[in-house]
């Protein structure tokens, strides 16, 4: 009989160790899967985890891939800390991108920096509008935010599909569902490193993480609203006794999280695609959930987690090209990783002992 005794103080030893162990177990089971599908195990692991580091431009591309994951993940920290389950970041990403992209296409004459700056603001507002729907329903009517935010992902996907096939379709796109190319002012340019030149797709948008990460870390750990969020998440009763406004916190964490997803979308599209298309996100909103958990809801952890997951994603692309391993394998890895991370949380919270039956 396995016995769980709650720990008085959460084990910080396990808090650091559990993500590492989780990754190790995932890799171990992953190699068993490769073996079962009769792919060369060492070669597969090399492609997935090491090959993205093999050239400077590939390393730069890891950051490009990690950028949207990290920004969305940073936003999700707010929700998950408060125990609010926003799983529709994908939809907020798409809607924010759509709003900002439409603005760029409708007002192409705006001055360069004004345009990009407005796009960031509009992207944030767009994402926040999309997440305000579950937020309002949750606060006013206590509707489950999980289902509403998820349903809105499908709605956003269909909506952007309609826009790029209809109103904003480029007449010169030969029937492809693509918008016109963004005006120059709406494009985030690649970084021209001194002495080195361009490195892969490395762009200026990535630097926003250097600002966001410490800012959010400071907000969560050092300010009163950040404290209120944490208390609401760990104990609703304690939060009520302290007189914190539960509805207000719920509303704002969803808004911030949606807004940051929108910003992530603006950066991703302005830096890499330069136009709107039916698929602007490739499941970033869902992957970011795993990034947030792997980063243990810590802003700096999320950055590291984003880089790890991005590496595996790029590695999976390489593995598909070199060995023909289907790309969906990453999803299997992500799911397993989440399972083990959650199991790690149990070890952190409870002391586990084995008791003999009398």
């Amino acid at each position: 009989m396995i016995e769980f005794t709650p720990r008085k103080i959460q084990s910080s030893f396990w808090a650091i160790l559990s993500p590492i162990i989780s990754i190790a177990i995932t890799i171990f089971i992953g190699s068993l899967i490769f073996k079962m599908l009769s792919y060369p195990v060492m070669e597969s692991l090399y492609q997935v985890f090491v090959s993205p580091f093999s050239r400077p431009d590939r390393i730069a591309d890891i950051f490009v891939k990690a950028c949207p994951l990290i920004i969305i993940g940073l936003g999700l920290i707010f929700c998950f800390k408060a125990n609010i389950w926003n799983i529709g970041a994908e939809g907020q990403f798409i809607f924010g991108t759509l709003c900002a992209g439409s603005f760029a296409l409708l007002f192409p004459e705006t001055k360069t920096y004004t345009l990009l700056f407005s796009m960031f603001i509009i992207g944030f507002i767009g994402g926040a509008i999309w997440s305000s729907i579950p937020a309002i329903l949750k606060v006013r009517l206590n509707v489950n935010e999980i289902l509403v935010s998820l349903m809105l992902v499908y709605v956003a996907m269909l909506f952007i599909d309609f826009i790029v096939r209809g109103p904003l379709r480029d007449p010169m796109s030969f029937g492809f569902p693509l918008s016109k190319v963004y005006p120059d002012g709406a494009i985030i340019s690649k970084v021209d490193f001194p002495f080195i030149g361009f490195l892969g797709q490395f762009h200026y948008g990535i630097f926003i993480i250097l600002i966001l990460c410490p800012l959010i870390g400071f907000f969560i750990n050092k300010t009163l609203p950040g404290f209120q969020i944490k208390i609401l998440g760990s104990s609703i009763r304690a939060s009520e006794f302290a007189g914190f406004n539960k509805n207000k916190i719920t509303f704002y964490v969803l808004l911030v999280s949606g807004g940051l997803s929108g910003v992530a979308g603006v950066i991703e599209v302005s830096a890499n695609m330069g136009r709107l298309q039916p698929e602007v996100s490739f499941g970033y909103g869902f992957t970011a959930i795993i990034v947030a958990f792997l980063g243990r809801l810590n802003p700096y952890g999320v950055v590291i987690a984003g880089i790890i997951i991005a590496t595996a994603k790029l590695g999976a692309d390489n593995a598909q090209m070199v060995l023909g391993i289907p790309k969906v394998v990453t999803g299997i890895f992500e799911g397993m990783l989440l399972f083990f991370l959650l199991a790690g949380e149990t070890i952190q919270k409870y002391k586990i002992s084995i008791r003999k039956e009398n």
Binding site: F4, L137, V143, I146, M151, F339, E345
Partner: protein, 302 residues
Amino acid sequence: MENLLITILLTSIPILLAGLGELVTEKSGVLNLGVEGMMLCGAVAALGSVLIFGNPYIGILFGAVAGILISTVFSFFTITLMTNQVATGLGLTIFATALTGLIGEPFVGKTAASLPKLEIIFLSDIPYLGKILFSNDILVYFAIFLIFFIHFGFQNTKIGIIIRAVGDNHDSAHSIGYSVKLVRWISTSFGGMCAGMGGAYIPLALTPHWSEGMTAGKGWIALALVVFASWMPIRLLIGALIFGGITILQFVAQARGWDVPSQFLNMLPYLTTILALALISFKLRNNNYAPACLGKHFLGNK
């Protein structure tokens, strides 16, 4: 008109089956958000087995077993290891979507045999009603049987009352001597079985070929439906039929040539879900039918 009603009924079956299973799971206090993933597992297992064995009934069996197997992953983590149910359910869907994508890849472009229609003698000769209700495939009859089975099961059988007790107050159920964890394992497996069969119904009766993520949110709609039905099986049928109707509306609109972009028609099931959730929450503001221990962990060593 007859055909339309039959199509609505058939379209609602996957959501109905998955919803009924989830209802039982939730009544025992477990919130399994992996319905979408379990349905996909059922769908791919059904399709694959039909392509191999050629018999659609074997497809139902494989779909059900696949649903149970994948739900045991969820049970192991949430019930035995006490992980967070919301996050684990989400992980299950991510995991299963990828897994079925991998397994289903060789099936792309192949067509599976459909479930045969079984006409019930005499009854199927009733004008109108007979065609709609009594000349369907076996899973339609099974789903309708299941509604009443679960309804009466929860009202009148000992097992049903034990499940409700575990879901409403696990400490009391434990102190009387019931194994909370075992009851939850079984209820979750039942949910997995139903979701697997619901998923299996999609390739076996609706669209006979595989595409990645072919459930297209039906699992999530089923979850919403359980809330909408206030955990009552018969209301679940009404909800599922409404969704069947809305899904069919887009085809009707296309056939009639309505001038509405198809994307907006495709949005309807999702928008209706949100609206339905909002309305039911508004109506039940002060009276929550949710099982009291829904989503709560049971330590099991008091």
